[in-house]
Structure formats: structure tokens, C-alpha cells
Amino acid sequence: MGTKLKVEDVSKPSDPLIHLDPADLPPLPAPYNQPENIPAWPPLTQKTKDAVEASLDDTVAVGIPKPKSKAEEQELVRKFLSGLSKLFTKENNWTFLQPFLLSMEHCAKCQTCSDACHVFEASGGNELYRPTYRSEILRRIYYKYLKPGGKYFGKWAHGDIDLNWTTVARLAELSYRCNLCRRCAQTCPIGVDNGLIAHEIRKLFSQELGIAAKELHEKGAALQLKVGSSTGMTPLVVKDNIDFIDEDTSEKTGMTIKTPWDKEGADILLIHNAGEIMAWPENPGAFAVILEAAGVSWTLSSDVVAYDAINYGLWYDDFMLAKVAIKHVQAAKKLKVKKIVIGECGHAHKALTVVADRVLTGDLNIPRESSMTLLEDIVMSGRIKLDPSRNDFPVTLHDPCNMVRLMGIVEPQRRILRKIAPKFREMTPHGVYNYCCGGGSGFAIMSPYNFAHWRFNVAGRKKFQQVLNAFSDDLRPETKKYLCAPCSNCKGQLRDLLFHYNAFEKCGILYGGLVELIVNAMTEVKPGFIEWEWH
């Protein structure tokens, strides 16, 4: 590598700002220490580079169309700066102002956070991905362009930066090189939250400039509000799909499963991430088996939005977050349920139970609970009969960041696994010190251009190492192993990651949720609920 990248370099046009050489990345464990087992990383095409802003690194996540004129560029820079000033006002940012200000004004630049960041580490310590690099750009803009006298004193006190379109366009992309896992915030001695800063940058771009990853906004939250689900399922389609799942699950388990819809007065409104219904139907199927066997009073809602727990606004836009959260709660109120239970989806957990707490005041504040604790109650109370010997294969657990580090739901899923999976082993590190799967903050569903390869090589690298290490006692493909990830977004990333490295064929590693493991151990169910087929 050449000279060390400096913060002010971000303003200087070059193409691209850094280049990642796969040879500089930390080595993976065997068998991926052999070059022939590492798939190639395709470069961006010239066509892409001509069409969208692609001057950050070797990939593109957002893909902002290049402005057509200098005037258009200047207008975007102006909007950026006015949006940034709004982030520092109580009226416009009452939800996040306090931690944001603390993070902007009190970083001591000790770099403790850098050692905690999986992206920085997996990039071979590239300066661009240092958690403070992005924050420092914003901090310098703030001190120079927004503070009184900043043009004279800001640059001496805090370092110089030139605010131009190149800086703004790169900052937008750079806010999508962080998984928002907040491992950096956890380790910071004074509580500076670089993850939050990345989040606020995304928010500024979405709310003030209309720039967001289209998988999250146009094809995500906006689609959900329009048709009912980010998957595109309308109420008619979701009911039809659940009918199919009921039939399939009944056939597979020997139990009669009929999912209740819109049952007024049920104790629990269960909301799945709708991706489970489309791509991992055994997950909603297993939930139904457990709840029916345990005699729980539950229902799904067929109201638009209320059958999809996703709330992508959590990652990029406060308005979208609030709109979706309110729809979830309104459906629960309409059905007069006692509480909402969120299925195996990490970001939906944090969005609806923690973040939306600020919005759900008065009679909207109905109890919201994690499926982890509900399942723990059922499994530990003995209400369903379990035979752990049915799960006689190596199992490890991935901790979804939103659920575990950011909400403290650590033990319920572990107590379950210790009871039902005799060969359960932990990853190192785990629990609140886990590493993100690399799909966090929406990356799992973002694969534009060659971005998926950045996800596999950089964002997901640390997790892939951890998974291989957890199973290192027997990586032979004929020994089937189960990577348990109770989160749809994590599952999407882990599926793509394992597929990319062909780890099911090469090492026998399959992935899946928690409820599937529980049902696989239930004695009243036909053996073999987990099918050991790639999916």
C-alpha cells in the first residue's frame, strides 16, 4: 500500500480512494487457506463507474446516479449541509440528539474502537474502514461549516476538510460500509457511538436528499407500507402461502397445523419477518407446531404491514421506522391481544421493542416481547416433550447483534440449546461480544453490482472464521453441522456466505433458526424435521 489515507483525502477526486487487494486480507482457516478455495472478486465494470458514484473503494452499495451538472452537485451539497444542521437541533432530531452530540464532541481518538470493528480488521486494517474515519469526516464538516467561526478556528482545532460533492458522495457510500453492529460503541471508554454516527449519516441522506439503498427504501420499507410486506406479499398471497406451509408442516410432522388468522382476543399476536414465509417456511411452520403443542393462544394478523415484522427504517430513516411501528401496534390493538411477540428477526426486535418506544406512547404502548423468552418459557416449563438425542449433531449459535449486544437477550436461546442440543458449542467470542454476521443493517439483502463480494470478503469474513473455528474439531462434509441463527437477516447473510464458500458441500455446515431445532427434538413430531438439504 502507498501512503496512509488521511481524512482530508476524501475531498480529493481520485478513482477510487482505496483499492482492496484480496491478498492483504487476513487469512481464513483451512480449507480456505488454499487460493483455489477462494472465489474470485469481480471488479466494477466501466459502465457502472460511468453511471454512478463509485469513487470510494472497489464496490458500490447505494449507487447514487452521477449529477448532470455542477449546479446539481452544489444543490446536493447545500441540502447535505442544511440537513446536517438539522441533525443538531432538538426539534428535528429529539430521538438521537443526545448520543449523537456526545459522539460528535467527545471522541478522544484513542482508537480503542478500531480493534473492536470486524470490518476494519477483516479489511487488513484499511484506514477507510476505521470506525473513526467516517465519523471524523462528519466531525470536521461540523466544526468547520456549522460552528460559529469554524472556517477560521475549526480547521486548526479539529483538522481541515473541504466540503464538496466528492466528499458528500463518498460519505453516503461510506455510511453503507458499517454494519451498525455497535461493537465499537460497546468498547469505547466514554461511550462514543460510531455506529450511531453512520446511522445518522444514512438518515440525513434519506430524509433530506432522498438518497437511500433501494433495497431498504423503495423495495423495502416503502413497498411494505404500500402492499403490506417488503417481500411484495399482499394479504391474499400471505394467507395462501401460510395455507401451503400449514399443509406442508402437517404432512412433515404428523400433527394437524392450522395457523390462526385475525383471532380477536388471542393472547399473542405473532409477527414474523415475512422473508421467513417466502424463503424459510420451515421457520413459521415450526413456530406453529410449538405454539399449538404448548397450547398457546396466538394469532397472525392479515392487516397490511402487520404480517411483516421488518422495519428497515431502523437502518436509515426515522420517519419510515415510526410509520411501520405504528402499523404493527395498531393491528395488535385492533385484535385486542395482550402482547406482540416478534419472531426470529433481530432488527425487528430492536425496532419495535426498543427504538419505537419513543413513538409508542399512551395507548399505543402495548407490551412487546421477544420470541426467545416465550420459547424459553415453553421449553423449560416442560410443556412440550423433547428428546435431545434427535439433535445429536454439532450445533453452534450466532448472536444477532440487535437482539443480543443491543438488547441483552443472551441466555434464553442458550438455555434452550443446552437442553435440546447435546453437541452445542459456543463461538469465540460470543454473547454480547459476538461479531456481526456481516449482513447487519440491511447488507444481507443488498447485492447491487459487486457489493455481495465485499460482504463475503470483508463484512462477513470474521463471522466465517468464527463459524469454521467453532466446528474445527470435525470439518468433514459427511459430519452434518448446524449453525443456529435466530434472525432472518443474519440467516440471509449466512446462507449467501456459506454458499459463496461452498461450505455446505466442503465442510457440511448448514444454517437455520432456533425453532427448527426445537421441533426437531419434539417427540410428538415425526423424526427428521431438519432435512439437511441446502436451502
Binding site: E215, G220, L223, T234, F244, D248, I445
Partner: protein, 105 residues
């Protein structure tokens, strides 16, 4: 949005090669899309999968669940990956002229 020639027509595709106008799809377009998915020749079993996806999409404006697709076309997932190497969602749906799947799928 890039324009490419598919099945003798100028077609708009997104950055992952999914066509933007599902109405403009026909068999010749499908055959060219298949080539972009490393499917050299569309055999009967490819068509069975593609036609099922297509019919489902025209009815519901969304792709079928993968498990439903496998069951209805009597093609297990392993074989689906043999037919369409990038899988049913990214491969088969692309050939069937659907837009890219959305949400956490």
C-alpha cells in the same frame, strides 16, 4: 439503468441483470437471460420451472415461495441449483422475467 439486447429486443435491465418490464418478456428473451445465468440450453425441465414462476407471477405479482415452486414442479432444491446455478430466486426468477426479489428472502 442499462440497455441490452435480449431475444432481439432492446431491454432495460437493472444492475443485476433483471429485466425491468416483465410485460416485454417472451421465450426468446428467456433464452438470452438463461445464458447470462450460465444455462447454456433451456431444456424441458427448465421451462417447467420458468413457466410455473411466470404463471404464478402473472396471477399474484410476486414470485412463488421456493418450497411451493419445488413441490409444484416436482424439482427438489438441489436439482433446482443444478438447473439454475444461482438458485431459484436469483436465477430461475430472472429467466422468467420477474423483477429482483425484495425483502429478507
Amino acid at each position: 439503468m442499462a440497455k441490452v439486447n435480449l431475444g432481439g429486443k432492446e431491454m432495460e435491465i437493472d444492475e443485476d441483470g433483471f429485466i425491468q418490464d416483465p410485460e416485454a418478456w417472451d421465450k426468446a428473451v428467456a433464452e438470452d437471460l438463461a445464458k447470462t445465468e450460465h444455462v447454456e440450453q433451456m431444456l424441458d425441465e427448465h421451462w417447467r420451472v420458468v413457466n410455473y414462476i411466470r404463471e404464478y407471477y402473472l396471477k399474484f405479482q410476486i414470485a412463488p415461495m421456493i418450497r411451493k415452486l419445488c413441490k409444484e414442479t416436482q424439482c427438489d432444491l438441489k436439482h433446482m441449483y443444478e438447473l439454475f446455478p444461482s438458485g431459484p430466486a436469483k436465477g430461475a426468477c430472472k429467466v422468467a422475467g420477474l423483477p429482483k426479489p425484495t425483502g429478507c428472502v
